[in-house]
Amino acid sequence: MEADCVLPSPRQSSIPKLSIAVVSKRDYPTRSHTVSAEGDAAGAVKSDDSLEEHAYDTISGGDWLCDQDAVEVFVKEAPLELLQLEHWGCPWSREPDGHIAVRAFGGMKKRRTWFAADKTGFHMLHTLFQTSLKYDPITRYDEWFVSRLLVDEGRVQGVVAIELMSGRIQAITAKAVILCTGGCGRVFPFTTNANIKNGDGMALALRAGAPLKDMEFVQYHPTGLPFTGILITEAARAEGGYMLNKDGYRYLQDYNLGKPEPRPVLRSMELGPRDRLSQAFVKEEQKGRTSPTPYGSVVHLDLRHLGERLINTKLPFVRELCLKYQNIDPVKELIPVRPVVHYMMGGVSTDIHGATPLAGLYAAGEVACVSINGANRLGSNSLPECLVFGARAGKAAALFAAEQKEPNPVVLTQAADEQARLWSSFLRKTGGREHVAAIREEMQAAVEKSAGIYRDGRTLLDATSKLHELQERYADLSLDDRSNTFNTELEAALELGFMLDVGESIVRCALHRTESRGAHQRTDFPSRDDQKFLVHSLVYRDPDGSSRVEYSPVKITRWPPGERVYGAPQQPSEEPQAAPARRAS
């Protein structure tokens, strides 16, 4: 089995003689976690907005850890990619005159966020997938689980994957591979992330020799439902929702985020950035001003004043989720919420073309770190990031593939090695006392305790040794399931192996960064330290299994590091403008 290129963008099929394989561990491409993204997609198109303002909001939101050349490319190309999806049929919400509608979002000074009600990720993914069905050169390997990258002579030449239906373990060779596997929220116990978000691509890259960048930056979203961790989108606050503590007080005014106004004010209060809102929750909790529940303490999101009509048109999925999963109606009741692990700013290190330092390996989306998100991602930047850097990685990988010779047959022996490993470690193993779920739970507890919203050196050091212990116990794993047919326990074991590597990378980078910046808050080093840490962390895995952290400079083009100011005096925002969309060119 062979493919020139494993990549996501159907537009690249116009390049002659390219055969494209899409390999997914799920049965159907729309099971991917993008489908859950309720929040929206930023692209500056309205006449009162500019690319510079979108770039500045992104860079200040990221606490100056973003690479500014990447941000400039991103804000410029985002509107084009969003428009391309419109041409492919994406059902974007509209102004009365038929132009694209935009709304406010956290940390953004202008209304620039495109939306498809509150199911934007769902509609983007379905549009992209349905459009891809037009293109015959795309071959899908649905329910093939990738367990290893094939590398020879310093170049990635394919993957080894298990066909879940049959248990067949096989090489899929390729001249270039693009990782689009998303994030790793399941390393934590309480997350909005789907069960499939295990950092697979990050661990695959790390094991193959590519570095992971800025892994200490983990985003907590301030509004998750307790118990399930289901996300209540930031759009609920953008439409005017209030955050209330147990006394019904809009507590964000006590945390340098501006003064409460009846209507939403951009870059202020409830529309502050996610890191600051999640940190404010912890402070409120410490003051005893949150409400206890069996699943941790909560504050409340109040949408009641928005009225049933607005909630039904702009936030229908929020209402559906509250009714179905929390048994409350936001039209009449307060929504209990607490911060929940949501997004990984870090990931496989890439340049602005999606290329990793390992030849033939590309990455795009949450799995990658370009970095446009720096120390804290702004809501509504991640969906267009997938589009912009997915397209760029696709193009770069296609050009690279066109110049490569056929994969070296030597990589097939690596596939045989991998089969032997899977048999001896799992499927045909004798002995072993440990179980997947027990190690997973202990790992999640250790990572949460040490690398949560606030961190300190001692706890991180403890977690380092705990994770080391868990790695040793992982080697003593025993599976109940030895079947070749759809072995989901084998899959869970391999995912656990990935998560242990990713969790270790997070803790190690967090331990070494002795400053506080964006989503990385050290109680023992509470200030930002630009002298020492205006740099990206790069964690490498050496062939002997040990890891090391190095640093590389942040690219500053036009915006020197400054203070992050939110809630500065501004006019309350107006109703959405019906200004015509700027012509894309």
């Binding site: 159907y28 049929g89 919400s93 102004e95 599976l479 079947s483």
Partner: protein, 260 residues
């Protein structure tokens, strides 16, 4: 409220079983738990071989459809407490009418093929350059097709449809609703291309309008309504072809629809 609930789960492993059998598990009964939480409890604490699909646990990825007490359901959106009065027993089986791979996992490739056949993408006579900006579409025009765009491909409607059970070639509710999603989109010009596939005994004319598809849909898509709309259009086209045979042919050749 009892503190335990019993799940009777259909088990089948092609390497061991000649036919499916039921296995009974007693699990803690918690009011927050959905059927999927109970399955995860069994897999993590009792029997690691239990096999099923799931991902988002928020009713949007469409992976975790199963028969729960004989009804097609998303197991992530079906609370155990709904079955507390049913003698505290919940029967969980794979979705009906699909070949079973193992336990609760079914084979979906036939469904995927059917979806592709209805050409579920925007068809234009000519592509417009991006430099011309967006296609204008008013909120009312969006509303015309919006509900048909909500399908999550969970296939519950196939497991509910008696025609799917009788005729495996029937294109089925979700695929027809998806065709209608594009037909009703003011930007699309491909209605006639899709009608060639759908105005067929295995297309819309296979449907006997039982309406079960619409009833079980967790996203309130109305496939039965889509099929009825389509039958009406198809019948009118047929009448038109009798009255104005040449005119109809030309319209087919152009590939354009009236809503462009």
């Amino acid at each position: 409220m009892a503190d335990k609930i019993v799940l009777e789960i259909a088990r089948y492993s092609p390497e061991q079983d000649v036919e499916p059998r039921f296995e009974t598990f007693e699990v803690p009964f918690r009011k927050e738990w959905v059927v999927l939480d109970a399955l995860n409890h069994i897999k993590d604490k009792v029997d690691g071989t239990l096999t099923y699909r799931w991902s988002c646990r928020m009713g949007i990825c469409g992976s975790c459809g199963m028969m729960v007490n004989g009804e097609p359901k998303l197991s992530c959106a079906t609370f155990l407490s709904s079955y507390a009065r049913n003698g505290n027993r919940v029967r969980v089986e794979p979705l009906r009418y699909f070949p079973v791979v193992r336990d609760l996992v079914t084979e979906l490739s036939d469904f995927l093929g059917k979806l592709k056949r209805v050409k579920p993408w925007l068809i234009r006579k000519e592509e417009s350059p991006l430099s011309q900006g967006e296609f204008r579409q008013t909120p009312e025009q969006l509303e015309d097709y919006r509900q048909f765009s909500m399908c999550i491909n969970c296939t519950l409607c196939y497991a509910a449809c008696p025609v799917v059970g009788l005729d495996p070639l029937f294109v089925g509710p979700a695929a027809i609703a998806l065709a209608q999603r594009y037909n009703m989109d003011s930007r699309d010009q491909g209605t006639d291309e899709r009608t060639i596939v759908l105005a067929h005994p295995e297309g819309i004319w296979g449907c006997t309008f039982v309406g079960e598809c619409t009833r079980v849909c967790p996203k309130h898509v109305d496939p039965a309504g889509a099929i009825q709309q389509y039958k009406l259009k198809s019948a009118l086209d047929w009448v038109k072809s009798l009255v104005m045979p040449r005119g109809h042919k030309e319209e087919n050749n152009s590939g354009a629809s009236a809503d462009a």
